[in-house]
Structure formats: structure tokens, C-alpha cells
């Protein structure tokens, strides 16, 4: 599953310098720094366990 979204025009080429949250913006850089620290945080195992459980319940229903 990939994010197949179109690159917004403002980010492609000419408009780049005008991107108010782009790499030239202190706010933009901090936002990305803040967010990437959250995204790279270790994921607790409970989520994978939850999905496996949901999956096994579902496949059990299909078999019966």
C-alpha cells in the first residue's frame, strides 16, 4: 500500500520557494522534526496482536 497521491502543484518546481511550510521555513522544519520523532517512536506490540486477533476471528468466520 503506497500513498499514490499527486504532488501538489505548489511543491513541484517553480512554486517551491513560496511553500510557506517548506524547507526554507523554520516552522516547516520544526513541524517535520516534531512529527518525525513521533512517527519513528517504537510501536507497542499490542497493535500487531490486535490485528492478528481480528484477522483470526474473521478467517474463523469464513471457514464455518
Amino acid at each position: 500500500m503506497t500513498d499514490k497521491r499527486e504532488v501538489p502543484r505548489s511543491k513541484a518546481g517553480a512554486g517551491r520557494r513560496d511553500d510557506p511550510l517548506g524547507p526554507n521555513s523554520e516552522i516547516g522544519r520544526k513541524l517535520k522534526q516534531y512529527y518525525s520523532a513521533l512517527v519513528t517512536d517504537d510501536v507497542p506490540e499490542r497493535f500487531e496482536q490486535l490485528l492478528s486477533k481480528l484477522e483470526s476471528v474473521e478467517s474463523g468466520q469464513e471457514e464455518s
Partner: protein, 181 residues
């Protein structure tokens, strides 16, 4: 979409969902509960997901709805009252390119929820304005104006000068830029 494929998609989205949940709820424990609720809802609604569309955006929509519905249940006021917290904040003026991440986080927490989610979706989660508008169930123009107000507010709180917000000076940027192979 096969259940296994869907599951893989959900697993892959968990780090982003957690980051968005923390941004919304400003609390790590609540955030993980939100993510768990989102995953269960998503699993139940699996048949309503259209394969080929953006799974991450679909999941963010579910998470956001869950967040606001929990807030309503708790009877809490979602919106921070504009300005009150800002006045109490005493953050030193940012030196160029030296803005502290903790200061930034504190400032971000002071934004009204609608502005915070908009600037996170656009500036950090990598969504387009159109996708953010769908996630927040509002007009594209509304997202644009929220992002703009959020930027202005962050500039005020962090006392970043509009013109001085560009990190290293222009010459250094040129030199750095020219060194990229």
C-alpha cells in the same frame, strides 16, 4: 481487498496514526487508545474502503472522528480559548535556526485544535490541501485559512520574525546548496 493485504496496510499506517493521535490528543496514552479504536473501527468498516484510494487518509479520517466523538462524550471543550494561553507563554525570542523543539511543542499545544490538526496534516503528515479537507470534512479554503492562522500564531508565540525565519543566512544556504553532488 484481501484481509491480509488490508492488515498489512493497517500495520504500515500505525506509526503515522500514532503521530497524528498524539498531535490531536497531546497525550501518549490517550493517543494509543485512539489508535486501537481506529484499527478496530477500520477493520469493521473494511468493506467501505475503496481499494486504490488513499488508505492513510481513510484511516486518519476515522481516527479524527473518533477523537472528536470521544471529546464530545467527555463533554470537554475542544477548542482552546484563543489568546489566553498565548499571553501566558514566555518563550524567549528564537535565534535564527536555533528554535528549541520543546519550545516548538509547547507552542503547538497552544493552538486551537482545528488549526493544530490542519498544520500537522499539511506541514508534517504530507497530505495535500484536498486530502486534508476530506479528512477534516471541510472546504479546501478552510484548511488553507487554518494553516495560515496556525503559522501566524506560531510565529507570534515563538516570536519569529517573518523575514528572519530563514535558517542559515542566504550565503550559507547557497554554499550548502552548491555542495550537494
Amino acid at each position: 481487498m484481501a484481509a491480509a493485504e488490508f492488515k498489512t496496510g493497517l500495520l504500515g499506517a500505525i506509526p503515522s496514526l500514532r503521530a497524528f493521535a498524539v498531535s490531536l490528543s497531546q497525550n501518549a496514552d490517550k493517543a494509543d487508545d485512539l489508535v486501537q479504536e481506529t484499527l478496530m473501527k477500520a477493520w469493521d468498516k473494511q468493506s467501505s474502503f475503496e481499494p486504490g484510494t488513499n488508505l492513510k487518509a481513510w484511516l486518519f479520517t476515522i481516527l479524527r472522528n473518533e477523537f472528536y466523538s470521544q471529546m464530545r462524550k467527555r463533554g470537554r471543550e475542544v477548542q482552546d480559548s484563543d489568546g489566553i494561553m498565548t499571553a501566558r507563554l514566555a518563550i524567549h525570542p528564537a535565534q535564527e535556526g536555533m528554535l528549541d523543539l520543546d519550545d516548538f511543542r509547547t507552542a503547538l499545544d497552544q493552538l486551537p485544535a482545528d488549526q493544530r490538526e490542519a498544520i500537522i496534516l499539511i506541514g508534517a503528515s504530507g497530505f495535500s490541501y484536498e486530502e486534508a479537507a476530506e479528512i477534516c470534512e471541510c472546504a479546501v479554503g478552510t484548511i488553507k485559512s487554518r494553516v495560515s492562522r496556525a503559522r501566524t500564531r506560531l510565529h507570534e508565540i515563538l516570536q519569529i520574525d517573518g523575514e528572519a525565519e530563514f535558517g542559515p543566512d542566504p550565503v550559507a544556504t547557497q554554499v550548502l546548496g552548491s555542495n550537494i553532488p
